[in-house]
């Protein structure tokens, strides 16, 4: 790694932690970010010539905090009341963070329900993930100016309406944690759907989501849903290499080369699934992770315990009823009771316009030998497919149908 890459790596790794710790001094997100960025600017120069210090993260935090304190001293000297108060707080904030939960507090701030949903995602990536506004804008396909405005508006709201920096009390925690996990999963899904495309910034979102989930799972070990979400993403990530075929086309689960699955991620994911399920407080992420776990241990699509998957979807549908869950359940049901039974479920779902609905329906019709209808469904699915990879995959299915004789399975990878 050359020196400037090393600085970049430290930046990504330490930025969020540094901001969250310096925030104790500044109590203002904008000031904390400024101080940390200034510290990194100095570090970039110094480390490039002198090499990295032993603890680069600690170096950044110390330097950033010193900058914040200097700034308050200058302002206090000019009679700034808030700066004086900040300096008085200073003695407390020097205390080591016994619970290591600064980043978690910051995450709860970024995911506060009072902030616009899109702003929550952007803010979490910016202040905790250390992504630049340019990277985030590119990942969400909006202009940099739009993204910059979205982020700065959210920061102003945090400051002006006094959104508190704290982990919510146990009474509020389940609801607030659900909002945090939803943001992390949205970040993952943004990256996942782009994974097969070409944009590096979007693919990096998956890694970022996993990193945030690891922080949550480590800092809130008593919340099985955070383990469930982490497991769900790890198991999905384990198929990363197998999911993308020639030209970036999606390879469905049934056709993936399972030797390309990442064993280390699978075993970590499976261990988490077992750990959280043992607690007996089922939740939607845990159930989705458990479903992925059944796939992960299956030697092939045919040798998958589909009955178990159907039962897990039944449980999921009880907790979070909805047509998308029913659609996924129908895919498993087709393996247990056959495509006709699954089709009658799918037909009642009313998900017209949702690409997976058309893809699943097309596949079931194809397996029932209703070729013309299947062709129509796949054509519809191609039109509404959200990513180039999925479009390419659906196109190839369509091509197979239009040319004589083909046999394929189909399921979401």
């Amino acid at each position: 790694m050359n020196p400037s890459d090393a600085v970049t790596a430290v930046f990504r790794e330490e930025y969020g932690r540094a901001v969250s710790v310096v925030l104790r001094t500044t109590q203002d997100l904008g000031l904390a970010e400024e101080a940390v960025q200034e510290a990194f600017a100095v570090a970039a120069e110094r480390w490039t010539s002198e090499g990295l210090p032993e603890h680069p993260g600690a170096w950044i935090i110390t330097a950033a905090r010193r900058r914040a304190v200097d700034r308050f001293r200058r302002e206090a000297a000019r009679g700034g009341k808030e700066a004086e108060a900040a300096l008085l707080r200073q003695s407390d904030s020097e205390a080591p963070d016994a619970f290591g939960d600064d980043r978690l507090k910051l995450l709860f701030v970024c995911c506060h329900p009072a902030l616009a949903a899109q702003a929550r995602i952007a803010l979490a990536l910016k202040v905790l993930g250390g992504l630049t506004t340019t990277q985030i804008a590119s990942a969400f396909l909006v202009s940099e100016a739009t993204m910059a405005q979205r982020i700065s508006r959210a920061k102003s709201k945090i400051r002006d309406s006094r959104i508190p920096y704290r982990v919510p009390s146990s009474g509020e925690l389940p609801e607030r944690l659900a909002a945090v996990l939803a943001v992390v999963y949205l970040i993952y899904n943004e990256g996942y759907s782009a994974d097969l495309g070409t944009q590096a910034d979007r693919a990096g979102l998956c890694m970022e989501a996993v990193r945030l989930a690891r922080i949550i799972s480590k800092l809130l070990p008593d919340e099985p849903e955070s383990d469930g979400l982490l497991a769900l993403m790890l198991l999905s990530e384990s198929r990363h290499r197998a999911r993308s075929g020639p030209g970036g086309s999606l390879v469905p689960l049934a056709e993936q080369d399972r030797s390309k699955w990442d064993e280390a991620l699978i075993s970590e994911g499976l261990a988490l699934v077992q750990r959280c399920l043992r607690r007996g407080q089922l939740g939607p992420y845990q159930l989705q992770a458990a479903i992925q776990a059944v796939h992960s241990v299956a030697p092939s699509a045919a040798a998958t315990d589909w009955r178990r998957i159907v039962r897990l979807y039944d449980a999921l549908a009880t907790l979070t009823p909805g047509p998308v869950v029913e659609l996924n359940r129908a895919v498993a049901l087709a393996e247990v009771e056959g495509p006709a039974a699954a089709l009658s479920v799918v037909d009642g779902l009313g998900l017209t316009g949702y690409h997976a609905f058309h893809a699943v329906r097309g596949d079931l019709l194809r397996r029932l030998g209703r070729r013309d209808e299947a062709t129509e469904e796949y054509a519809e699915a191609v039109l509404v497919a959200p990513s180039p990879g999925e479009r390419a995959f659906l196109q190839s299915r369509l091509g197979d149908l239009r040319s004589p004789r083909s046999e394929h399975g189909n399921e979401r990878s």
Partner: protein, 121 residues
């Protein structure tokens, strides 16, 4: 401490019948009593109907008085509470209860200056 405006928005010209309004007013009384007991209430009152509003505008040289309300729409500010809370979550706890009590949409906004700062009693 920060002061927050907790504003209620109500549909114009819709007055619930007494058997509906009565229990709501009772709950509102209890709500305000709890606010006072928590030393969190700064001010609270309901407004007369938005149709009774008068709008004053300065157009450069003249001051014009016209019939209101100022904002168009079918819902207007119906009343508000000003509360003191340590942070937004504290204010939201009160606002949540007000939404449950009245069934109305509630808007929460922080005042710019801290209590006791310039321009305040």
């Amino acid at each position: 401490m920060t002061q927050y405006l907790i504003a209620m928005y109500q549909p114009d010209g819709v007055v619930p019948p007494p058997e509906v309004l009565g229990p709501i007013m009772e709950k509102l009384e209890a709500f305000n009593a709890d606010l006072r007991a928590a030393d969190a209430l700064v001010f609270s009152n309901g407004l007369t109907d938005a149709a009774s509003a008068t709008v004053i505008r300065h157009n450069g040289h003249d001051v014009m008085v016209t019939d209101g309300p100022y904002a168009e729409g079918k819902e207007h500010l119906g009343g508000f509470e000003i509360v003191e809370a340590p942070d937004l979550d504290g204010a939201l706890t009160w606002a949540r209860r007000l939404a449950e009590t009245t069934g109305l949409p509630i808007e929460v906004r922080a005042f710019a200056e801290a209590p006791g700062a310039a321009g305040q009693a």
